[in-house]
Each structure stands twice: as structure tokens, then as C-alpha cells.
């Protein structure tokens, strides 16, 4: 690094503004070469997915998985969406898609509401023991879900929610709570406490301050939480399997059942179309949200 800039400055006499740097020095070739190679590894699966999903089965059997289709066909997509079979049902992934939508939407809303209020209460309305609960909550996020799987089955059964949509919504809310509460708590703690005090002198109460002062100041963190939850809940597999019945299975579960079913001839193009369809929602969220996604996942690493 030092060598490159040295030789650069020797070649040019006299100051010429910004530090000169040749774009094509060995260091840069190495650097960008490695990065491009790494990117190839990352892009490859997406490429393969798209290419395979656009080929007909004969071409899949004959050709190279990396090669683009000779004859583009959308039939695999149509089939994956509308007629692929899981068990007795042959109405494709669309059922799983809509199940995932009706699971994700209320789960995201409920978990964000609860966690944001939690974070706000933890920062501004500390009560005896609130920090203890928070610590347990954070530790809870590291505990393997497996140990809580069955007790939750019992709780849901007692509440009459086992196997229902709302049962799963509740489970997502519970397991989203640690990370989201941490996220909101950290964000709210960066808002000056005096603002909260001023609002109390101005006669605003718990909800008044939350809705009138904190909420309008925290829209970015709500977007971050939204991204985190939409991708997280959409991608869930375990809770979907454990807490719902087959006709309510989310898209990931249905996808796995379609692709890994033992019966019938394997239709790889349909499988890849189905896989892409399932990955579509988080991918779109990811590419649209950009840096906010990074912020969301980094929140898990920020200490409380």
C-alpha cells in the first residue's frame, strides 16, 4: 500500500491535489480479483436457480446447469405456483405463499408493537426488576428453541391455539421479542432523556409520550425491525412444522415437501422455480432495503 503511493508520487513532480494512485497496480488487481472470485461463488447459486427454472426438463437432463436456457420456458414457474403436488394437494406453492402471508403480516405487526413498547418501557419507565427481565429475555434468545418447543405446545393447546394461525403468530411474537426489544431499547436509549422529561412536565403520559414523541422520532428503526421480521418469519421452518397443521403450512415447509418428496419423477426445473418463488419475498425485501438490512442484522451484535 505504502509502496504503491510512493512510486506514484515520485512519478509526478509537484503537488497536484489528491494523492495519485494508479488504478491498475498489482495490489488492486489482486484485491479486485479475489473479490470478484468470491462474488462468483456467491452469485452462482442464484444464477443456477434462475437458469434451471427457465429450462424444460429435457434440456435440464441434457445440459449444463450453469448454461443459460436454449429455449426459455415459464412453464416450471406456472407449475410450481399452481399445480405442484405435496401429498394429496396439487394446488402448488400458491397455498404456502398465502399461508406465509397471513402468518407473516400479523406476526410482524404484533411483534413490532410489543417489542417497541417494551424497549420504550425499559428505557424510560424502569421499574423494579425491569432490567432482570430484560437480561433473561436476551439470554433467552440464545437458548435452543428445542427446549421450549413442547412447553409451548402445551400452552397453546391450553389456550386452544395449537395448530392455528394465531398460535403461530404468538410463537413468532415471543421468539422475535428478544432481538427486537434489544433493537428498540438501544435506539430509544439514544434519544435524550431530557426530551422524555420535558414531555412529562408537559403532561404527557406513558402512551402520549410513546405515540407523540418517541414514535415520530423512531421511524427508521421501525423500518429496520420490519425488514428483520419479514425476512425472519418468512424464512422460518421449524415453528411452521411444529405449530401448524398441513393446510396452514408456511411456504418454506411446503417447498421442502415438494422438492424432497420421494414419490414421482423429479422435476428439477419446477423445484428451482419453487425455490426461487420462496426466496423471492426476502430477496426483494433485501434488495429494496439495502443498508437498513445490514443495520438490522448488526443490531444482534450490538451489546445492550
Amino acid at each position: 500500500m505504502a509502496d504503491a503511493s510512493m512510486s506514484g508520487s515520485l512519478a509526478m513532480t509537484g503537488p497536484r491535489g489528491a494523492k495519485p494512485k494508479r488504478a491498475l497496480n498489482p495490489r488492486n488487481i489482486m484485491l479486485y480479483g479475489i473479490l470478484l472470485l468470491v462474488c462468483l461463488y456467491y452469485i452462482l447459486p442464484l444464477w443456477v436457480m434462475i437458469m434451471t427454472s427457465l429450462k424444460g426438463m429435457p434440456e435440464v437432463r441434457l445440459g449444463n446447469i450453469f448454461a443459460p436456457p436454449v429455449e426459455i420456458t415459464f412453464e416450471p414457474w406456472v407449475k410450481a405456483w399452481a399445480t405442484a403436488c405435496t401429498g394429496l394437494n396439487c394446488d402448488g406453492l400458491s397455498r404456502g405463499f398465502w399461508n406465509s402471508v397471513i402468518i407473516t403480516v400479523p406476526s410482524v405487526i404484533l411483534s413490532i408493537i410489543i417489542a417497541s413498547v417494551n424497549g420504550y418501557a425499559l428505557i424510560n419507565w424502569k421499574f423494579k426488576g425491569s432490567e432482570v427481565f430484560f437480561t433473561i429475555l436476551i439470554f433467552g434468545s440464545f437458548i435452543p428453541y428445542q427446549i421450549m418447543l413442547y412447553p409451548i405446545v402445551i400452552l397453546l393447546r391450553e389456550a386452544g391455539l395449537y395448530g392455528t394461525l394465531w398460535g403461530l403468530v404468538l410463537v413468532h411474537t415471543i421468539f422475535g421479542m428478544p432481538i427486537l426489544t434489544l433493537l428498540f431499547r438501544n435506539y430509544f436509549s439514544s434519544i435524550p432523556e431530557e426530551l422524555f422529561k420535558a414531555a412529562r412536565v408537559d403532561g404527557a403520559g406513558f402512551w402520549g409520550i410513546y405515540f407523540r414523541i418517541m414514535l415520530p422520532m423512531s421511524l427508521p428503526i421501525f423500518v429496520v425491525a420490519l425488514i428483520l421480521q419479514v425476512t425472519g418469519i418468512w424464512n422460518d421452518f421449524l415453528f411452521g412444522v411444529v405449530y401448524t397443521k398441513p393446510d396452514l403450512y408456511p411456504m418454506t415447509v411446503q417447498l421442502n415437501n415438494i422438492v424432497n418428496s420421494v414419490q414421482g419423477v423429479k422435476e428439477y426445473n419446477v423445484n428451482m422455480a419453487a425455490t426461487l418463488l420462496t426466496g423471492m419475498v426476502p430477496l426483494v425485501v433485501y434488495f429494496v432495503s439495502g443498508k437498513l438490512f445490514v443495520r438490522g442484522i448488526a443490531a444482534g451484535a450490538v451489546k445492550g
Binding site: E194, K197, A198, G208
Partner: protein, 359 residues
């Protein structure tokens, strides 16, 4: 005039840490009281207790003859101004001023009237429709004061309101707050760590340390007759000179090193003979002369002189002790000059070393 604020035996503990200890404080109606002390002395904590933003452990707080110990902040009849201004960033200045009134369900015409009045007093009419982000520091603090003003309350609480401003603005707003107090006649409790603010603004100053009020008195009294070593050392810049020694002859004189300082004319209690005592003399109550003056004096050698423009500070050594003297600019002396320091005993303070109290 009656008491506007009464604090009775107020105690506040955070867990096992005692932050405020059995505190009593009465503030007269229309009085300007400054809570002064180093950081961590509990002054802001006391103010937050008065505002109801902190729940106290024990004791009572009365405001305008009402026990408000457990009332909500908004029910106490107070307005508060914060160090960081604490303006709601998403609201305009007008929104900031009206937020509290709307919460209190004050009718709109009344809100408009009060905002107009406050804006006029503080000269912020042109700013009413701007957001806080578009205001300068001084303007923000005016709006913050305005927010207390529109509440139409008798007690204003200021929590280090000028600390975030630069030196020039600070002195401007200081004068403005004084003017506001003269104009409105409200009771004001003002927290600061800046003794100039305290001395210039206060009717009375409460000097605090370790959760205890060390002395509560007018600025002049605090400055001239500090009740203990802490107050004496904290107030005044540069600090008071402390000459440790012992009193002899039934308290008629203090022996400092090998010097005998006659205490005739001391303005305080009976001195008595004490093994350990400290004589405190402010830099401006010491005179410098080439030969020994008539009154009590000690010899010293000039080490450094600092020119402050208006006057000058001489740093001297009397034995092993550093002493600072404020002299006119003409009185500057080169290092190494041997001089005699004349001490104005009538304006000096004598402290018992063990109790640290003024004698």
C-alpha cells in the same frame, strides 16, 4: 411573602447509594435560588425531585402550599428548562409551545394568546413556524424557556440551561434570564456548576456537595463568609489561599510556619486555642509590598505572574506554600522578587481543620 417551595427532610437513595440526605430547603415566593456544586453533588437530582421526575425515598415536597410529593410533574405548577433544550424535533416551535397546553386541554384561543405573549417576551415571533433543527443554540434555548413560560406557572426550574452555549451567548442569555425574572417575578430554581452564573443571578445560593446543602445564603455572604472549607474553596476563582497553622494566645494569633499572624479584627466567632486551624484569605484581600506593612503579614517570593488584562495574578511561595494574589496590572513583579504579603484579616475566614467549619 410566603414560601413557594418547601422541601422537608427529603431523602433519595438509588439502591444502597444515598444521593440526597435529609434535605431541607425553603424558597420564598419570587425568589431566585441557585443550586451550585461540582458534578455529582446531587443538584440536578434535587431539581428532578422538585419536578417530580424522580420518585423520592422519604420526605415531602410542597409547592405553593400544596403537598406535591407524589403528584405528576404536570400537576405541580412548574415549568422546566433543560440543558439540551429538549425541544420536540418533529414539531414546530409553535407545536413545542402548545404541546403541554393541549395535553392540559387548554382551549385554542387561550393557547394562541399565551404563545403570542411568550413569543413577544422572548422575541421569537419570527421563529414560530420553524422546526428546532433550523434554530441556533440561543434561539432553541429561548424556545425552551418559552415552553415554561406558556404554562403560566409560578415556579420555573432551570437545569444547567446555559451549559451547551458558547461563552458569549451564555453571558447574553444570563442577562436575559435575570431580566425575565425581574419582569415576571416568578420563583426560580436554577442549577449550575458555574459560579459566575450563580453569583450574578441568585438571590440566594445553595452550595451542595455529597447530597447535602453546605451553605444556603446570599451571594455576598457565601463569598465573604463561607461556612466551611469546601464552600470557601469552591467559590472564587482563583481559589482562596489556605494557610494551615495553629492558634495561640487564646486565639489572638495564628502561627503559620515560623510566622505569627495577628488575628485582631477577625469577623467571626471566638477563635480559642486550636492545634490545627486554617486561615483562608482571598487573592484580592492580600496586598504586596516591598517592606513589611503595618498589619499582619508574611514574607514570600514571586514565582510567576499572569497578566489577565484587567488585572494580574501573582503566584508566590511563602515557605513551601503556594499563594496567589490579585494585583493591579501596574503591580506586576518579576520572578524571584522578595516581598511581604499584607493580609486583610477582617475579610479573611478561619476554619477548624478537623470539623472544616468556619470559626
Amino acid at each position: 411573602m410566603g414560601n413557594s417551595i418547601e422541601v422537608k427532610d427529603l431523602t433519595l437513595n438509588f439502591g444502597s447509594v444515598s444521593v440526597l440526605k435529609n434535605m431541607n430547603l425553603d424558597v420564598q415566593e419570587g425568589e431566585f435560588v441557585v443550586l451550585l456544586g461540582p458534578s455529582g453533588c446531587g443538584k440536578s437530582t434535587l431539581l428532578n425531585c422538585l419536578a417530580g421526575l424522580l420518585d423520592i425515598t422519604d420526605g415531602q415536597i410542597w409547592i405553593k402550599g400544596k403537598n406535591v410529593t407524589w403528584s405528576e410533574p404536570s400537576e405541580r405548577g412548574i415549568g422546566m428548562v433543560f440543558q439540551s433544550y429538549a425541544l420536540y424535533p418533529q414539531m414546530t416551535v409553535r407545536g413545542n409551545l402548545s404541546f403541554g397546553l393541549k395535553n392540559a386541554k387548554v382551549p385554542q384561543p387561550e393557547i394562541d394568546k399565551r404563545i403570542a405573549r411568550a413569543a413577544e417576551i422572548l422575541q421569537i415571533q419570527p421563529l414560530l413556524d420553524r422546526k428546532p433543527a433550523a434554530l441556533s443554540g440561543g434561539q432553541r434555548q429561548r424556545v425552551a424557556i418559552g415552553r415554561a413560560l406558556v404554562r403560566d406557572v409560578d415556579v420555573f426550574l432551570f437545569d444547567e440551561p446555559l451549559s451547551n452555549l458558547d461563552a458569549k451567548l451564555r453571558s447574553e442569555l444570563r442577562v436575559e434570564i435575570k431580566r425575565l425574572h425581574n419582569q415576571l417575578g416568578n420563583t426560580m430554581v436554577y442549577v449550575t456548576h458555574d459560579q459566575i452564573e450563580a453569583l450574578t443571578l441568585a438571590d440566594r445560593i445553595a452550595v451542595m456537595k455529597g447530597g447535602v446543602i453546605q451553605q444556603l445564603a446570599g451571594p455576598q455572604e457565601i463569598y465573604n463568609r463561607p461556612s466551611n472549607l469546601f464552600v470557601a474553596g469552591f467559590i472564587g476563582s482563583p481559589s482562596m489561599n489556605f494557610l494551615p497553622g495553629k492558634t495561640v494566645d487564646g486565639g489572638k494569633a495564628l502561627v503559620f510556619g515560623d510566622q505569627r499572624i495577628d488575628l485582631a479584627g477577625y469577623d467571626g466567632g471566638t477563635v480559642l486555642e486550636r492545634d490545627q486551624a486554617i486561615l483562608g484569605v482571598r487573592p484580592e484581600h492580600i496586598t504586596v509590598s516591598a517592606s513589611a506593612p503595618a498589619g499582619p503579614s508574611i514574607p514570600a517570593v514571586v514565582e510567576i505572574d499572569e497578566n489577565l488584562g484587567a488585572d494580574s495574578l501573582l503566584w508566590l511561595k511563602a515557605g513551601a506554600k503556594d499563594i496567589c494574589v490579585r494585583v493591579p496590572v501596574e503591580g506586576r513583579l518579576p520572578a524571584g522578587t522578595k516581598v511581604h504579603l499584607g493580609l486583610d484579616i477582617a475579610k479573611a475566614s478561619l476554619f477548624d481543620t478537623k470539623t472544616e467549619q468556619r470559626i
